[in-house]
Symmetry: C2
Subunit: 147 residues, 2 copies
DNA sequence: GTAAAAGCTAAACCTAACTTTAGGTCAAGT
DNA sequence: ACTTGACCTAAAGTTAGGTTTAGCTTTTAC
């Protein structure tokens, strides 16, 4: 069973142009054609599922291509593939830590403008900075701006 | 007290060209000059601290400019500013949820290649898919690929 | 058998956020 | 006065990840 580029585009809700772009970038190393027309098989469908995941985790296209090439090469590249995912996992956990601090910063800003609106001005808040905010807010402030 | 563009660049560990770019984009609405040369004051230093935070939370330059303009306009824009931060907070929490699923996917992939290496092949794992993985791994798989 | 729909390619275009380049000005020290 | 280093601008270049365009060919439906 094979699928046309249009069917695949619909399955994954991707523009056809994106699929052609991925192909051009070498993301479907074993894609076949019949008189010039691409025939997507289960292999490419699986590849697309992996591509969506890897892209979602922040991997660049060229690194996804590398991974696809390793898959084509067989079991001798298990170590490389595993190390790729380990590096991605480390990078993603760092990113989540960073976002967590940014979230605290944003929560602080929300409190700031809530309070400024209630007060009708920023003077009272400014007088509390940088060390005399309400304890729960102080925590957000320290996490968001000082670490 | 004012600072030269070079001093500010060093303080924030940013290239001079980036500061000029920010200025061109309108991120320092009250930046002054003496015979053409930029004089950065505390106002711009504060602005830069805010810029770094907003950028880190994913805001685009044009939205940061909007925020700076609102700040210049005074208390009548408190509501807009607050809503900007609330929208950012929602977007960031959605992004963290997404990354959390991606992390599970990556953890699954790490387990997959660990196991493939130990087994010397993927056959045993493939036979367990998609519903008969070890329970802890199954959880990662379901979270990473199916939700 | 013909017309529309779907497919193809190469190449140009797009956006964000900078960076680099080219050519000129300003300021500080000797 | 002069040299050197820091500063200036406008405009072009860069990168990633596509998208659009123009001009074709192939397939499908009637």
């Amino acid at each position: 069973m094979t699928y046309s580029i249009g069917q695949v585009a619909e399955m994954f809700d991707l523009p056809i142009s994106t699929l052609r772009y991925y192909d051009k970038e070498g993301l479907f190393p074993s894609l076949e054609r019949k008189s010039g027309i691409r025939k997507f098989s289960e292999v490419e469908i699986d590849a697309l599922r992996v591509i969506e995941c890897l892209k979602g985790s922040g991997l660049e296209i060229k690194d996804i291509k590398q991974f696809m090439d390793w898959c084509t090469q067989g079991p001798e590249t298990y170590v490389q593939r595993k190390e790729l995912f380990e590096r991605r996992l480390d990078a993603l956990e760092e990113e989540m830590t960073r976002l967590s601090r940014m979230r605290d910063m944003l929560k602080y800003k929300c409190w700031y403008y809530d309070t400024a609106l209630a007060d009708g001005g920023e003077e009272r808040i400014q007088a509390m900075l940088p060390d005399n905010l309400p304890p729960d807010v102080q925590e957000l402030y320290d996490s968001g701006f000082r670490s």
